[in-house]
């Protein structure tokens, strides 16, 4: 595995200035400059160190349980008349792909000599993954979470607390994920020396989008090897992943972006419908703007105020999208689809009944678009099953007819 692979020849990976095409950059106030600059100068160097890589790989193997299986979903394949494989990130420790990144960043934070870890979380998945690695490494952990989300996601709040983290409610603005991110950034401004901020997605100022994508790139690295064993070719015809900020998609796409024969499909949350006023389909509803220090597509009012998105899935409920994905969208390299709340619920039930796997609501968005792709019987399709559905049981029960 090479998380420090040289991507400088790629059309789709970050350039030396921190941009993906016109997207990305680091629109940070001066107070954050020393922290972000320290990371920018050191992240690739640290990630290319063999000792770092060995420790990262060992933890992914023994602690997270990687490689995650690439499972041939026979009954799902029969239904959609193609060869459908599920990349089982749901089987990771803590139940989602998020932990790949938190393991990487906590090792990086230790090498930077940081003593205190902060993170933002929406549904609580990234918060739990961060609290987990902080317990593992014996570092102080503070998780910012919108007070509305704290109400909605009580089990994950309890998990974080049991793991020793302090959960701080974000009470500003809409009191959800974007506000939790604002509060985490403010904490970092106020604690510029001893603190590392573990961002949970491929968002934020450069180098975060690239760094997080590299830690998550283990997903596509494994897909290549596993497909080679199973089909004789590293390349699938399709890779499908859901996109909120876009970290599981970034990981699932990473090693395929420059292989034109592999179709990349990103599925956003349409909420109650793209034009319903309750949606999180950023590529459809957003314009170029700046959110959390990154220039990207952004849902906003005509005078540039960031608007609150809607999705049934808290993990996709973000008004921006990682700059990598904005670039994949603009260049047409990835096809962007969207799934409504109802379509995703239906897809979650379908997978449960066909394969005995209850997916996270986020991942169900990706599954929901299988029906819209022009699949051929010999097409190899990989769906990134980014997380398991335990956290969504309450929602599923509510919609059980």
């Amino acid at each position: 595995m090479d998380i420090a692979v040289n991507t400088s020849q790629s059309r789709y990976h970050v350039n030396e200035k921190g941009y993906y095409g016109q997207f990305g950059g680091a629109y940070i106030p001066e107070m954050l400059y020393p922290n972000v600059e320290e990371l920018r100068q050191q992240y690739l160097q640290i990630m290319s160190d063999p000792g770092f890589q060995q420790e990262f790989e060992q933890l992914l193997k023994d602690y997270v349980g990687r490689p995650s299986p690439l499972y041939f979903a026979k009954r799902l394949s029969e239904k959609y008349k193609a060869k459908i494989y599920l990349k089982r990130e749901d089987l990771n420790h803590t139940g989602a792909h998020k932990v790949n990144n938190t393991i990487g960043q906590i090792l990086l934070a230790k090498r930077l000599g940081k003593k205190r870890i902060i993170a933002e979380t929406g549904a609580g998945q990234h918060g739990v993954a961060t609290a987990t690695v902080c317990a593992l490494m014996d570092l102080e952990c503070i998780v910012y979470m919108g007070s509305v989300d704290i109400q909605r996601q009580a089990p994950n709040v309890a998990r974080m607390k049991m793991l020793g983290a302090t959960v701080v409610p974000a009470t500003s603005g809409s009191k959800t994920l974007k506000d939790a991110t604002n509060e985490a950034i403010r904490d970092w401004i106020n604690n510029p020396v001893d603190t590392h901020y573990i961002i949970g997605s491929v968002v934020g100022p450069h180098p975060y989008p690239d760094m997080v994508a590299r830690f998550q790139s283990v997903i596509s690295e494994e897909i290549k090897q596993q497909l080679l064993e199973k089909t004789g070719s590293e390349d699938p015809d399709y890779v499908i992943a859901c996109v909120g900020g876009g970290s599981n998609a970034a990981g699932a796409f990473f090693h395929f972006t420059d292989r034109g024969n592999v179709k990349l499909v990103a599925v956003e949350a349409a909420g109650k419908g793209v034009n319903s006023g309750y949606s999180a389909a950023t590529s459809q509803l957003g314009r170029l703007g700046i959110i959390h220090a990154s220039k990207t597509l952004l849902m906003q009012t005509d005078d540039g105020q960031i608007v609150e998105p809607h999705s049934i899935s808290a993990g996709l409920d973000y008004p921006g999208v990682g700059p990598l994905h904005a670039h994949l969208y603009e260049t047409g390299r990835a096809q962007f689809l969207n799934a409504t709340d109802d379509e995703s619920l239906a897809a979650a039930y379908e997978l449960s009944l066909l394969e005995g796997i209850i997916p996270a609501l986020e991942s169900a968005h990706a599954l929901a678009k299988l029906k819209e792709l022009p699949l051929q019987p010999d097409n190899v399709v990989v769906v990134c099953l980014s997380g398991r559905g335990d956290k969504d049981l309450e929602t599923y029960i509510k919609h059980l007819k």
């Binding site: 629109y27 106030p29 603005g173 974007k178 950034i185 106020n190 959110i291 960031i306």
Partner: protein, 255 residues
């Protein structure tokens, strides 16, 4: 000559710069607040263009921004309010805000409007120095707008020198690595301010963040050309029923 430069030429010391969010406490209070500040003896005014997600600001200014947006404040409304204000206001006025609303308004259009109504400078905390240097500098200069940069205790000397060379008007020294409105012991910052003073920058230095009363203002003035007060002022007028009176007594409490 730019009004900011003129001010520092006439009064190099003890500059009192007051921040207020535009459209706050009520939508149409913007120009009244600026006029009252001028009458009360403030030297400069920084008007905040409210943004939904003000990363570099603390809760007081964020709340005032949320309220101003709810009041109907937006950049186009602000320019309408400022039309003709130069007939009554002579002190330098700076607009402070975040890049996204400015991008949506159109950067060139924004600069043009600033020049039309008589704005002297801009503080855009999330516009990085490199971006400014390579993208926007000629534009801002064409419209006579001074871009004011922040420096912090963690900013290296080399970077402060670079910022000083790119800045016009003054350098905004953040008194601690903090968001606005945070209480930090001023004494801890004296070493940093003294270091800044010893660097003999080409620009005057104003100290901001954490200045809230006469004592903190006096301390700031010993090592700089003056100070900026934001959160404390916003708090002082948030529930005001007599702006003129409350602004007067706030400023008198400082100078």
């Amino acid at each position: 000559m730019n009004r900011i430069d003129q001010l520092f030429r006439n009064k190099p010391q003890r500059i009192l710069n007051i921040y207020c969010t535009a459209g706050f406490p009520a939508l149409n209070d913007t120009v009244s607040v600026v006029e009252a500040l001028q009458q009360s003896g403030a030297d400069m005014v920084e008007l905040g263009m409210p943004f939904s997600d003000p990363l570099a600001d603390g809760p007081v200014i964020q709340d005032s921004s949320t309220r101003a947006i709810a009041n109907g404040m937006r950049i186009s409304v602000l320019f309408d309010q400022l039309k003709g204000f130069r007939d009554r206001v002579s002190l330098p006025v700076i607009l402070m805000g975040y890049m996204n609303p400015v991008l949506q308004f159109g950067v060139e259009n924004f600069c043009k409007k600033c020049a039309e109504v008589g704005i002297d400078g801009l503080i855009l905390p999330d516009l990085p120095m490199d971006e400014y240097e390579h993208e926007y500098k000629p534009l801002f200069e064409q419209y006579g707008l001074h871009l004011i940069f922040l420096v912090t205790p963690e900013t290296s000397e080399a970077r402060i020198r670079k910022i000083d060379s790119l800045s016009k008007g003054f350098v905004y020294a953040v008194s601690s690595s903090s968001t606005t409105g945070k209480d930090k012991v001023m004494a801890d910052q004296q070493v940093y301010f003294a270091r800044l003073k010893a660097m003999e920058l080409k620009n005057p230095v104003l100290i901001g963040f954490g200045i809230r009363d006469r004592g903190t203002f006096e301390t700031a003035c010993t090592n700089s050309n003056g100070a900026i007060i934001g959160s404390a002022f916003v708090k002082a007028i948030e529930n005001s029923t007599n702006l003129q009176h409350d602004i007067q007594s706030f400023v008198k409490g400082i100078i």
